[in-house]
Amino acid sequence: VSAERGSRHPGAWIAWSTGAGACAFVTTNPVYLLVLGAVAWFVYASRRVPGPTARSFRVFLIAGLMTMVVRTALVVLGTVTVEATVFAALEGLRLAAILVIFGAFNAVTDPFGVVRLAPRRFHEPALAAALALSIAPRTVASVQRVREAQRLRGIRISPWRALPALAVPVLENGMEDAVMLAESMDARGHGRGRRTRYRPQAWSPAAVVTVAAAALAAAAFIWAAFGGWAELHPPTSPLGWPEVDTWLVGAVLLLAVPGFGPEGER
């Protein structure tokens, strides 16, 4: 699927998500994090691959919000103050931003396309990584298939009771997927040194621009983190307005670049 015409090199999306993730990782400033979230949403909306994996964005968005709520609620374990609550909420927001970026990455590229990029000797670890990366979208797709099948057969279960009824077929699906994958890999000669590269994907100018934008954005944030020229962690005790640097807002907006351009291409 990833070699479809107009699609961007998967390496470009790896660079994009790594760059955006690095930006989110080094800051708890809510302004930068919210802009990052908006950028991820825009890129997802513009460049998603049609199909079930595109729905994983919503799943990751909800997971991000839950993470934030749980992280904030954990404050109850310590001394509860406004300052501690705000600090925990900002930490949670950072986790949520990373999850949303990851959700966008899952929605815009095919994880198995990523495997092909790995050098031959690293093919197996890369395959394991791709499998791990694709667990969430594949589970989402599987859950939807099972629910559809249940609905078609007129099975109506309350949402809470549905969990065991859902878990068994979903796990079964996962096992089947894994066995099928192993068989197909075996059939293609994996692990026997007989692999050939089929239709390598070219780096389009758009992909190069994506990588450059991501690298610039990440560099700006890492420079700010080590150089200390901008405030990446707003003061939470006593509370104060976060200081916002125009250059860093610009750096985050660079990450939206792959979302612009004609809609036909990805």
């Binding site: 302004v31 802009v35 003061p235």
Partner: protein
């Protein structure tokens, strides 16, 4: 999507209630007859001491700083979720990263009551400060009690008068403080001895080396400050110094009342991206 929107709305609506319910009410602490503890803040250029009314039988080390801020106007800011001290008396990083100016940071010392100091092995949030205790903070480099500068040799009685009254006897108190000033240096110089569990020894060496002077700038600054600060007058105490505390957190260049200008740029960018993404989703159709 509607469910998500409801979830978001619920979050937004409940968040303020959540925080306001959980926020601990600020206890009104005037200097009364209750237990008091001493706090020594050594910025490297000057030393300031505070006699703090605890308002409880014991508080943690961070609460002691908050109380000093409320009662005496000590400017402070905490970081890492309010668990670490970032800046005191205007010295130290102003953001939430307390190690932004590393290797310099605020070191936490616990006094033994007779002028000796030991490097605290636990964070200020995890220690309990009771009546008659003395705690010290020093700005400088060094990751352990043997390398970080120690506070000057001060005992609880040098900071808080035994009489227990508000500003009474401040002259006597400052005399005592001045006398022990010289010894403070040896506390720093012999800091190898100032380890947890070695308090007695460290204190002893301090007493023996009282004649040793501190750096000129420091010994000049200290006695004056000591005389001025040990026990502010009751009127000073009664007025809690709110604005001072805030000033420690906010930078000089951003207005205290509202967000800085670049925030508006960010808000506009968020709105454009969210709406743009929505339009793109719609134009590409729901299912393909």
């Amino acid at each position: 999507v509607p469910r998500l929107r409801a979830l978001l709305a619920g979050l937004v609506l409940t968040a303020p209630a959540f925080t306001s319910v959980l926020a601990a009410p600020a206890p009104a602490c005037a200097a009364g007859p209750g237990p008091r503890a001493a706090l020594v803040v050594d910025t490297g250029a000057s030393v300031t001491t505070y006699c703090v009314a605890l308002g409880a039988s014991s508080v943690d080390g961070l609460e002691l700083i908050r109380l000093a801020g409320r009662q005496h106007g000590l400017a402070y800011s905490f970081g890492f979720g309010g668990q670490a001290v970032c800046s005191l008396a205007g010295v130290g990083p102003s953001g939430g990263d307390c190690f932004a100016e590393y290797p310099d940071f605020w070191g936490f010392w616990r006094g033994n009551g007779s002028g000796g100091w030991s490097w605290s092995s636990s964070g200020a949030g995890g220690v309990s400060v009771g009546g008659g205790d003395i705690e010290g903070w020093t700005w400088g480099s060094g990751d352990s009690g043997s390398t970080h500068p120690a506070p000057p040799a001060l005992a609880f009685d040098d900071v808080c008068e035994p009489s227990g009254g508000g500003g009474a006897g401040s002259g006597g108190g400052s005399g005592g403080a001045g006398g022990s000033q010289g010894g403070g240096d040896s506390g720093g110089g012999d800091a190898g001895l100032v380890e947890p569990g070695n308090d007695e020894e460290a204190a002893g060496s301090d007493d023996g080396a009282q004649s040793e002077g501190r750096s000129p700038s420091r010994s000049k600054a200290e006695p004056r400050r000591e005389r001025d600060r040990p026990t502010p007058s009751p009127s000073e105490r009664a007025a809690p110094d709110g604005p001072d505390i805030r000033a420690a957190g906010a930078r000089a260049d951003d207005p205290p009342g509202g967000p800085p200008a670049a925030t508006y740029l960010a808000v506009v960018a968020i709105a454009v991206l969210v709406v743009g993404g929505r339009l793109r989703l719609r134009s590409r159709g729901p299912a393909r």
